[in-house]
């Protein structure tokens, strides 16, 4: 054994200088290889994300025919329009209400799924996640048909209970409700899955200890579950806030912003103004108004992600 070790050592010694040169060479190669491996990613992000984002700011300062620089002209124009403020208000109502209900329903349903015996959980989870799997454009069509004014399946059912025909997408208040309902239907399963994963990671001993101390069910949720799930709740909510705030498919298909622009949100209005109305600079300015809230949410998410990265 000892002989062999010494033998190896003596063989290695003359080679050391060569290895050092080789090592430097390899290091050099490693960075080149790394650069080449990440090059497509860098190109994609620069050309198709960063550049368009900057270009969007440039576009927002041009006039409709895109030949003249107007500075903040588009923004001034928007600030003077009532429709713009309506869109701001509606986007906030839409995003906040939808996210709150998604989070609440997700939380409750996750608890119910967590409550039942483990072998049945898979089946229930599978059924409850279906809304998230169907492409939203397709499922919104089903909702549109459920909401149909004359052949509406909902109104047909409600008529049995003596509730009169509801103008699901025809009346401003109901249309807002419908749009939020569909969004909650679509997004709640995501919260459910995230919370379920978080619930499973809470150690059972904590609940036992709480039960021994005489905690009732809401005390267990308030003092054990919620603190343990705080990270996941925060990150999921922020994620969903971004996605919901930028939502397009559901509103576009269900109401197309109507009746009388009463359900337009930033994305659908930007599409209406920029693509359908072919005023690209104005459309770009409208969608730029999403940036502040997205940036705030992104900063919080990033802080959370890097914090947990440091912990692990």
């Amino acid at each position: 054994m000892v002989d062999a070790a010494i033998g190896e050592d003596t063989v290695a010694r003359p080679r050391r200088a060569a290895t050092r040169r080789g090592l430097r060479h390899a290091l050099k190669r490693k960075s080149t290889v790394a650069f080449l491996l990440t090059l497509p990613l860098i190109l994609l992000i620069t050309l198709l994300v960063v550049y368009p984002a900057a270009y969007s700011v440039h576009l927002a300062t041009l006039n409709k025919s895109m030949q003249r620089f107007v500075g903040f002209g588009n923004f001034e124009f928007l600030f003077k329009r009532d429709t713009f403020w309506l869109v701001v208000k509606q986007s906030c109502i839409f995003a906040i209400t939808a996210v709150v209900f998604k989070a609440l329903i997700g939380f409750i349903v996750a608890h119910f799924v967590h409550n039942i015996p483990a072998k049945g959980q898979r089946k229930w989870r599978g059924m409850l996640l279906v809304p998230w799997v169907i492409p939203p454009a397709m499922s919104t069509l089903a909702w549109l048909w459920l909401f149909d004014p004359s052949y509406s399946a909902f109104n047909y059912t409600l008529a049995f209970f003596g509730i009169g025909p509801i103008p699901w997408t025809g009346d401003a208040a109901w249309a807002r409700f419908s749009v939020i309902l569909v969004n909650v239907w679509y997004g709640a399963p995501f919260f459910m899955i995230m919370y379920l994963a978080a619930l499973k990671s809470v150690p059972e001993q904590l609940y036992e200890a709480a039960a021994i101390d005489g905690a009732n069910w809401w005390q267990r949720i308030w003092f054990v579950t919620l603190p343990m799930m705080r990270n996941i709740i925060a990150i999921t909510t922020l994620f969903s806030l971004i996605v919901t705030f930028a939502n397009f498919d559901i509103v576009r298909i269900l109401t197309a912003g109507g009746p009388l622009d009463k359900t337009h949100i930033f994305a659908t209005w930007a599409f209406r103004v920029g693509i359908e109305g072919s005023d690209i600079p104005l459309g770009a300015s409208v969608s730029l108004f999403m940036v502040p809230i997205l940036a705030v949410a992104a900063i919080f998410i990033l802080r959370d992600v890097s914090k947990r990265g440091n912990e692990s």
Partner: protein
């Protein structure tokens, strides 16, 4: 059934414990009750698609009980599956999604490998940048991207607007950041000894990636593939903006724009189309649910 067994097990111990177990049984019953309610809420729209797709147009306009099919017929399916236009949508969607998945994997696997294993100047910043890109929604970029591709057409004469393959450039902006991000997570969880051993045995970086990382991180790879496919399949805003001619449309946009003619809604066909459009993601989900969920939770929990 299981509630009964819990009930029986309880009273054999002390009285106090029996009441706890009775609480538990009630909690279980309530759980099942509410879960059933939520499951109904979740499944009504897809089931309603199925119900309507089996109805003839006469039955739909007769406004009979909407929740039941009195004269089941497959005429909607036959109509759509023999329509060249619809098959064209399906073909376009399939082509776009499959090619985007391949592009995404070709970009994000090497990048994730480099970012998780080869620490180089700016690698941490780049990883953060990838994550930030994932947070940028499509509704922020569609107008500048549209203008950009229109300009490319004007300057170089290569017409990309209103061609289905323009989506091959655009969709990776949605899929690559997320796939790279979760692949970084999966690659980072592979023990360093494994690739060190490979390097010592004389494997090159590329061999380490193809012989060690890809096989070991296969579950993550499947999750990322599923994600890329479902996102590409479901995308609605970009194809709506970039394509207009009927033969260039992908499925979701095709159904929404061609089956709805003015105020005339042929609901039987629309629901059939929607169901067929929802089928590929649903089938993938049915068979690969665990990977699907792994990918879903990895996005926010890995990092």
């Amino acid at each position: 059934m299981s509630t009964m067994t819990v009930d029986k097990a309880g009273p054999t111990r002390t009285v106090k414990y029996g009441s706890m177990s009775r609480d538990r049984a009630w909690a279980l019953r309530w759980s099942y009750f509410f879960l059933t309610l939520f499951a109904i809420f979740s499944l009504v729209p897809p089931l309603y698609m199925l119900i309507t797709s089996l109805k003839g147009s006469a039955e739909i306009s007769a406004a009979t009980n909407p929740w039941w099919v009195f004269h089941p017929t497959l005429e909607n399916y036959a109509g759509l599956l023999t329509s060249n236009q619809f098959l064209r949508f399906f073909f376009n969607s399939a082509m776009v999604s499959i090619i985007v998945v391949i592009i995404t994997m070709l970009i994000s696997i090497p990048a994730a490998f480099a970012l998780s294993r080869m620490k180089f100047w700016g690698s941490a910043t780049l990883a953060t940048g990838v994550f930030l890109t994932y947070l940028i929604p499509d509704s922020l970029l569609f107008i500048p991207l549209f203008k950009m591709f229109a300009l490319i057409g004007d300057v170089t004469g290569i017409q990309l607007i209103n061609r289905w393959y323009v989506l091959l450039f655009i969709y990776p902006t949605l899929t690559v950041p997320f796939c790279t991000w979760i692949m970084i997570g999966y690659f980072a969880s592979i023990p360093k000894e494994l690739d060190e051993a490979a390097i010592i045995d004389g494997a090159s970086w590329l061999q380490t990636l193809t012989r060690i990382f890809i096989p070991v991180a296969l579950p993550g790879l499947i999750a990322a593939t599923i994600f890329a496919f479902t996102v590409s399949w479901a995308q609605f805003l970009y194809p709506l903006v970039f394509t207009t001619s009927a033969d260039q449309l992908v499925l979701p946009v095709g159904i929404v724009t061609t089956l709805i003619k003015g105020d005339v809604f042929n609901w039987g066909q629309i629901m059939t189309g929607a169901l067929l459009g929802a089928a590929p993601p649903l089938i993938i989900y049915a068979f690969l649910m665990d990977y699907y969920i792994a990918g879903l939770t990895a996005g926010a929990t890995k990092g």
